[in-house]
Subunit: 102 residues, 2 copies
């Protein structure tokens, strides 16, 4: 594999993770997970979304490796697996603060 091909492969893997972060609902849930594990049901009402929709959003983040799930009784609890994703928000804020000159 050439160096360029390698970079493309890596870019794809990174894009998958970023895509999993790039949704307001998922970002909001991640922020909630900063305070510790939450079960699916705890997101449903505050978000005003269908149970299935919330479940699917969590599945996207799980698939990307950002969160972990654990079934206990009837409930499934999700945890932040790689907390550093939240640190990045400072940089994102800098982008927003800088504004767009379009």
């Amino acid at each position: 594999m050439t160096k360029k091909e390698q970079m493309v492969v890596e870019a794809k893997a990174r894009a998958k993770v970023l895509k999993a972060l790039a949704h307001p609902t998922r970002l909001w849930m991640l922020e909630q997970l900063e305070g510790g594990e939450k079960c699916v049901c705890e997101f449903v009402e505050p978000l005003g979304l269908d149970f299935s929709t919330v479940s699917k959003h969590l599945a996207v983040m799980k698939q990307a490796g950002i969160v972990e799930d654990e079934k206990r009784g009837k409930q499934v609890f999700y945890t932040l697996k790689v907390p550093c994703v939240l640190n990045f928000m400072h940089c994102i804020e800098a982008v927003i603060a800088a504004g767009n000159n379009s």
Copy 2:
């Protein structure tokens, strides 16, 4: 505006920036921009994409406030406006390294 509404508004703004990052082609271009400004034409051949496609990708990042453009002569040069976006890649790598347990 309630605290929760505020958080949703902020999550939307952040999601927009993350969405602009969440594409392999755009990530690859950002990495190239780490070495300094590049004109649109410099991306076209290495990526093997249409000129218009490359231009649109750059427009997405400009709109999000990640890059800036400057026209000089016939060419348009793009620069990284908020270089910290590249630092985040370390965390993304951590997510990838951790893998998914699905």
